[in-house]
Amino acid sequence: MEKYKVLLVEDDPLASQLIEIFINNSGRYTLEKSINSASMVGVYLIKNKIDLILMDVCTAFNANGLDAVEKIKKDYPEIKIIIITSQPEHSYLSRAKKVNVDSFWYKTVIAEEFITLLDKTMAGEHIYPDMTPTVMIGNAQSIDFTTRELEVLRLIVAGERDLEIAEHLGISLRTVKNHVQNLKDKTGMRNRTELAVRVRDAGFVIIDPKK
């Protein structure tokens, strides 16, 4: 039986090596190429036949794996794609579904679990975790925030001021201030900078510099 050809997009060499070992030891998959930036995937796909792409979200040179997937799925709909990430970013899961990612995997170091995911994906199944891993942001759990609060939080992390957030979301300045206050109350943070740093540290909100 011919082995499935895998393209790995991962910027951490150690994680990349670990996954490479998992793949090569499986006997059913072969690692065709390992690259560190999602921005280069398009070039490799021109000359190489790939069955499965394992794509990290935050890759080298600030290339977003989910953006790359959107493009790949248009040009190569037959290629199966699995998102691999260790970031509990709350928007990744929903965005992955939106761009038709086949499966989604929060990185672990357990080989069997990983190979099973690959097998199921190649068999046509879509494997997604039920929810984004819960992280603590100060006194609050990541699930404690409302959708609007998450939107405001994202823009705070992006370095926007209250007035800019209000314009961005089409809401009043007073409402933005209320949301910011609620976020501070829930997390117990003293100010927005502390809040932004903690949220970013936890990987709960990651800003794409290109957007």
């Binding site: 070992i21 070039v43 800003i207």
Partner: protein, 426 residues
């Protein structure tokens, strides 16, 4: 009889004098209020003048009669026979009218503003004020506005329209710093004070107001400074976000290293067990060692000095396309990323649509601009290039860096990116 006659003469003289005084006072007061809008007071005073004058005349006539012992007409006789207290009452009434009118007149005078008092009060205002006709003829201009006119345009305020035209868009004296043009022109005087002007049209009158906005300007400057500081802080926050990615990756590496360490421990234990003849599964032990050695080997190989350009060149080589770069690749991190991003897009397009084997990238620096030109040796486009999603997002990213993008289809395909030169960041 002689005593009675003498008494009558005295009484006559007193009444005549009193009514003469009333007549005089009424006439004087009447002249004073003649220009006032006090119809009722005027009528009262006229009545008072006439009646008191008449009484005065009658008693004067009586006095003459007493002196010369002549016969008097009946009507005068009758009037003279009216009791004295009636004349006293009439006197009290008239004197009250005069006093009341006089007090009222004085109060009104105090309450009423004269042109001079208006000018005087406006001169004391801290703001500059000028009222003029539509044609610019000045009706009223206070001292402050005249002072400002001298300072700013170097002459008297003679025509308000000309003054406003100079303020809003004309030339002012050399030692005055103009801060704003237009609807609210603003100037900084030699003494450091900042004055802001406004223009209002009120029916057929124009009004120019000058306000001292020094304090407001200082607050605005401070606010601007704080806003800039906030922007720097926000930018730092954003950059911090990028560096956190690296931190997260480091955490991941540590987690993997911990796992390797654990597996190495297992390998040593398994080997120890095998050597002690407690296990016969040598192959699984070999596999564990192979895996661990591979991991450790890769870790030492990793030097982490890849750049977007070197990665791109590797990818191009893998795709069988030679890349020739002339000029200096932008060093600014954002521009460098865009350079590679565009190179990737052009590389894919040149393979897919032009079967190219070489991609030429030329970087030129022209004055304050960097121009990057991407060309290939492939087939020329058969028709005009239609911009797809890749180029559109490239255009968006270029515009975010205040640059622009141009695509030429004829005679051959080339993509040009124009970027402003950026200062080196410390």
């Amino acid at each position: 009889m002689k005593d009675n006659n003498l008494l009558l003469i005295y009484i006559n003289a007193i009444i005549m004098t009193l009514f003469f005084i009333i007549t005089c006072m009424s006439i004087v007061l009447l002249f004073r209020i003649i220009k006032e809008r006090k119809k009722f007071s005027k009528i009262l005073l006229i009545v008072s003048t006439i009646i008191s004058g008449l009484i005065c005349t009658i008693f004067a006539t009586e006095a003459r009669t007493l002196k010369f012992s002549r016969e008097l007409p009946d009507i005068i006789e009758k009037l003279l026979n009216i009791p004295v207290f009636v004349y006293i009452i009439i006197f009290v009434i008239f004197i009250s009218i005069i006093v009341f009118t006089y007090i009222n007149y004085n109060l009104d005078k105090k309450r009423k503003l004269s042109n001079a008092s208006i000018k005087e009060s406006l001169d004391k205002l801290p703001t500059g004020l000028c009222f003029a006709r539509i044609n610019g003829r000045v009706i009223l201009s206070n001292n402050k506005m005249n002072y400002l006119s001298h300072n700013i345009i170097g002459m008297d305020l003679q025509n308000a329209m000309n003054f406003w035209n100079i303020l809003s868009s004309g030339e002012v004296t050399e030692d005055i710093e103009r801060l704003e043009y237009g609807e609210n022109p603003s100037f900084k005087l030699n003494n450091g004070k900042i004055w802001t002007f406004s223009y209002t049209k009120l029916n057929d009158i124009i009004q120019i107001v000058a306000s001292d906005t020094t304090e407001l300007s200082e607050i605005n400057s401070e606010l601007k400074l704080r806003k800039e500081e906030l922007l720097v802080l926000n930018d730092r926050l954003f950059k911090y976000g990028e560096s956190v990615d690296e931190l997260t990756r480091t955490k991941e590496r540590i987690e993997i290293k911990v796992n390797i360490h654990r597996e190495l421990g297992q390998a040593i234990l398994a080997t120890k067990s095998y050597l002690a003849n407690k296990s016969n599964d040598s192959q699984s032990i070999i596999n564990i060692w192979k895996k661990n050695i591979a991991m450790l080997k890769r870790q030492t190989e990793y030097v982490g000095n890849e750049t977007p350009v070197s990665e791109f060149l590797k990818a191009a080589e893998n795709a069988g396309v030679e890349v020739k770069i002339t000029g200096n690749i932008p060093t600014d991190i954002d521009q460098n990323r865009l350079f590679v991003r565009a190179a990737v897009e052009c590389l894919i397009n040149s393979i897919r649509h032009a079967n190219a084997t070489t991609l030429y990238i030329t970087v030129k620096e022209i004055e304050n601009e960097i121009v990057i030109i991407y060309e290939n040796d492939g087939e020329k486009p058969k028709q005009k290039i239609i911009e797809g999603g890749g180029i559109s997002s490239l255009r968006y990213e270029t515009e975010k860096l205040c640059g622009k993008i141009e695509i030429v289809s004829n005679p051959s395909y080339s993509l040009m990116i124009y970027l402003p030169k950026r200062k080196e960041k410390n």
